[in-house]
């Protein structure tokens, strides 16, 4: 039974066209714009004409170097130590500001340093905030992708049972997904509140008052972790549903066959469930990775990149530059870099998860 509608070529294009048009207008075209703008010095509002600057934007964003600094010595050549016995090093700005011996370091600032023997190794970059944002984003991805994926799989295995009222649990776990991330972020700001937040109250009650409270979002050591925890909680239900759909495509007779062979629960998972979820796993990991790279709303609502840039992220920086600082070309450059990064990682993931024959 094939109607004309399902066989007509024109009808096919007709159905596809609105989608194509939307994708072209809101994804392809802006990306081409962004790529072009990243090669100029375009500002959001500027009286000056736009100039083509080539790869200057990329250079200033990406240039990074390691500076080795020897400790200071006195006239006799002995190491200078302060009262605590710590070595003293010349300031980094001595190398990066108006120093004709090191033209390549001009304008760079210190990101972080470590010590190699007595030598201080200082990582310097022209755009330290971008590098911090990149490092935070990668940390976020590396933690969120496996934890969220594994947690979602665990939940999917739990709710894939025939129990009475299982739909209640499915709904509960999925609920955060349907709530806007902005609303969720606002609510979690109250939970994380340093004065009278729910989390502090809860921890204090559980430890009989031993825990005295912490400003979760105000402390550089906990801010990013707090946002990770909340992000994992918010989207875990979505991936749970994807895992669940994968689980339900596995033929029940495979489980029966493995039961007859005497497979334990773990062996059943290892030999039947997990191989059957291979394609789902690829999808989940790629989707989580891409979503994690796009981290923005939580930051914008909860921390604005602070404290001390500890929650800066790449997308937040792109928006901050483009609109906050009206530096459209800078924001576009970050967007293009992010695109290349995500594309590369997705391709690597697909390659790693390819069907080996």
């Amino acid at each position: 039974m094939t109607s004309k509608l399902t066989t007509s070529n024109r009808a096919g294009w007709g159905f596809a066209l609105p989608g194509f048009a939307l994708i072209a207008t809101f994804i392809v075209l802006p990306f081409i714009f962004a790529f072009w703008l990243s090669l100029t010095n375009q500002r959001l509002i500027s009286p000056n004409p736009t100039e083509f600057v080539g790869l200057d934007n990329y250079r200033s964003l990406l240039s990074i170097d390691v500076l080795s600094i020897e400790p200071e010595r006195d006239a006799a050549g002995a190491l200078v130590r302060d009262d605590d016995g710590a070595l003293s090093y010349p300031a980094v700005r001595g190398f990066t500001r108006n120093n004709p011996d090191y033209p390549q370091y001009a304008g760079m600032r210190e990101w972080f340093r470590w010590h190699w023997g007595d030598t201080a190794k200082v990582v310097i970059a022209t755009d330290v905030i971008f590098w911090k944002a990149l490092a935070n984003t990668l940390t976020f991805v590396l933690v969120v992708a496996p934890v969220q994926g594994a947690l979602a799989l665990g939940l999917a295995l739990l709710i894939n049972q025939r129990l009475r009222g299982i739909n209640f649990y499915r709904a509960v776990y999925f609920m955060p997904v349907v709530v806007s991330i902005v609303v969720v972020s606002l609510l979690w700001r109250f939970i994380y509140d340093g004065e009278d937040g729910l989390l502090n109250n809860l921890l204090s009650a559980l430890t009989f008052g031993a825990f005295t409270g912490m400003d979760w979002l105000g402390n550089p050591d906990t801010a990013l972790g707090s946002i990770m925890a909340m992000s994992i909680w918010q989207a875990v239900g979505f991936h749970m549903v994807i895992w669940l759909s994968g689980l339900q495509t596995i033929s029940p007779t495979l489980y029966e066959a493995s039961a007859i062979e005497g497979a334990s629960k773990w062996q059943t998972f290892r030999y039947v469930t997990w191989p059957g979820l291979r394609n789902t796993a690829v999808l989940v990991v790629i989707v989580i990775t891409m979503q994690a790279f796009a981290l923005f709303a939580q930051i914008d609502v909860m921390t604005n990149g602070g404290p001390l840039d500890s929650t800066q992220t790449v997308v937040f920086q792109a928006v901050e530059r483009g609109y906050g600082k009206q530096d459209i070309s800078g924001g576009s450059t970050i967007s293009v870099i992010l695109f290349v990064l995500v594309l590369t990682i997705s391709l690597i993931q697909r390659w790693l998860a390819r069907e080996k024959t």
């Binding site: 495979l254 066959a257 039961a259 007859i260 062979e261 005497g262 497979a263 030999y271 291979r278």
Partner: protein, 356 residues
Amino acid sequence: MATVKLRGIRKSYGPVEVIKGVDIDINDGEFVVFVGPSGCGKSTLLRMIAGLEDITRGTLEIDGKRVNDLEPSKRGIAMVFQTYAIFPHMSVRENVAFGLTINGVGKAEKEAKVAEAARILQMEHLLDRRPSALSGGQRQRVAIGRAIVRDPKVFLFDEPLSNLDAALRMDMRMEIGKLHQDLGASMIYVTHDQVEAMTLADRIVVLKDGQVMQAGAPMDLYHEPANLFVAGFLGAPSMNFMDVRVSEVTESNVTVSNGALDPVAVPRKGRDFTPGQQATLGVRPQYLSPAETGRGMLHGRVALTERLGSETVLDITLKDGSKLIAALGEDRILAPGTEVNLNFDPGQAHVFPEQR
């Protein structure tokens, strides 16, 4: 090798009872086929023996031991599924060795057992392939191989040939028969196909609505069906049934007739009839033979002729308007519309007190 004993086996899903008290004894090395129309409970019964379904009531013994509450893997059974249930991500070798792998059997023993199973099934050349590169028949062979290496007391087959095409089905049917001869193991085989049942079984158990209709050797069931259902279920083309009226009942015979059938005395085989009652007469199409004009017990007209080569199947409309099928010799090709008179040996006919 083992015996299987089912005693008063029942299965209910909530208020719905699907197996209504089944008693079967399966002897050591016997090939028993459960056959019946879909929904008769034959697969459920097999799955209860396997341990994949709980037994609501009754006892199941394998090798003299009650196994009602034993895990499937502890019952000493192996099962072959209709959908093969082989693991798509493992090679044939890994599939066949699966049970050995998860039970931590040593490498040498594993190799030897897999090689032995592959030899029995003639699939040595397939061992390193993936299931996706196999045909349906080859996949089923892998599943059977996996069952063989378990060295089970009882083999269970759940419609293993239903997903294969007709030609392959016949080959695999013969192979399963040969496998039974070679291994001499007890086997329980579920099918809805009465040809598989007839060809493979030492003993057939015909099921309907969760009850055993009749159990016995294939030819016993074929020649002496206990009831209308078994009579109609076994044999192809299936037995002709005619609504008849009983006119006389003697010690050993009952005389019946209807509008198209002249009165005939048929052995009543211990069944009770009263004169004047309605009954059903059954005659297999193969046991009908043409008679000369004016003779014969059945009178009608050919509606359709099907030439099958080895025999000719006639669709006949009898004088009273009822239909009849006759399977005659290969050269008995009659044109539609021809008047026919048919004879049969009353000893080969069955009369049942039930009505259709």
